[in-house]
């Protein structure tokens, strides 16, 4: 299973549509960093609208993706985190501080422009 990564001008768009298992998450991390490198992308939006479970491992991978992309010079915004998922993350003790988030894809792109000062 591979998560598709779409290119839109200088940005990359990702919509995670399936239950993520650990291998898929790690593969995605590599694929995304490769794509950022190859395309010289400055921003990424990862939409999590269809994701029903984010456990501590997946949360760690997502947080790492944001930090790693940042190191490479690309900003990542996470969008579409469901109410139930947000409540569960806080119960788990995961706050995803310093991770830019937005309500949906549209607002995610706006947030990305702001982060990049465009």
């Amino acid at each position: 299973m591979r998560i598709p990564i779409l290119k839109l001008n200088n940005y990359l768009l990702v919509s995670i549509q399936t239950e993520i298992d650990d291998k898929t998450a790690i593969q995605f991390q590599e694929d995304l960093l490769d794509k950022i490198h190859k395309n010289g992308s400055s921003g990424v939006v990862i939409d999590l609208t269809s994701v029903e479970v984010i456990d501590s491992f997946i949360a760690k991978v997502l947080g790492d993706v944001v930090t790693m992309s940042d190191l490479m010079g690309a900003k990542v915004v996470l969008t579409g985190i469901q109410p139930a998922v947000a409540m569960t993350l806080i119960d788990l003790g995961i706050h995803l501080k310093n991770v830019p988030t937005a309500l949906d894809l549209e607002q995610g792109l706006v947030k990305l422009y702001q982060e990049l000062g465009e």
């Binding site: 569960t88 788990l92 003790g93």
Partner: protein, 133 residues
Amino acid sequence: METQSRMNIQQELDIVGARQLGRDIAKKIGFGTVDQARIATAISELARNIYLYAEDGQICFEVIDNLGRNGMSIISIDSGPGISDISLVIQDGYTTSGGLGAGLPGVKRLMDEFDIQSEAGSGTKIKTVKWLK
């Protein structure tokens, strides 16, 4: 409806299988979406612990119908190396796998009841319950 089911955890993909099965059962019993997510997430953490530390174990699901008090219990059983210091592993941020250390303390917060028994060399049993409100 079956009152007991179990899922063997032997490979990484079983973690996803276990949480999907658990969520389906939770939904059938009548848990709302937030509790379904809590239960599925707790199962995910328990199943990953089995996979990471014990390699082989089971997650058992049981529907509780007890004089009108309904709920669901999730029991994680493995015959792995066991946990020598339980108070340490239920502390936030403690990890030996490079994770967030949110697993077991997280499960405790996600569920209503949490009981852990472990013996070095013979395995670990964790019983958790979520009550329907």
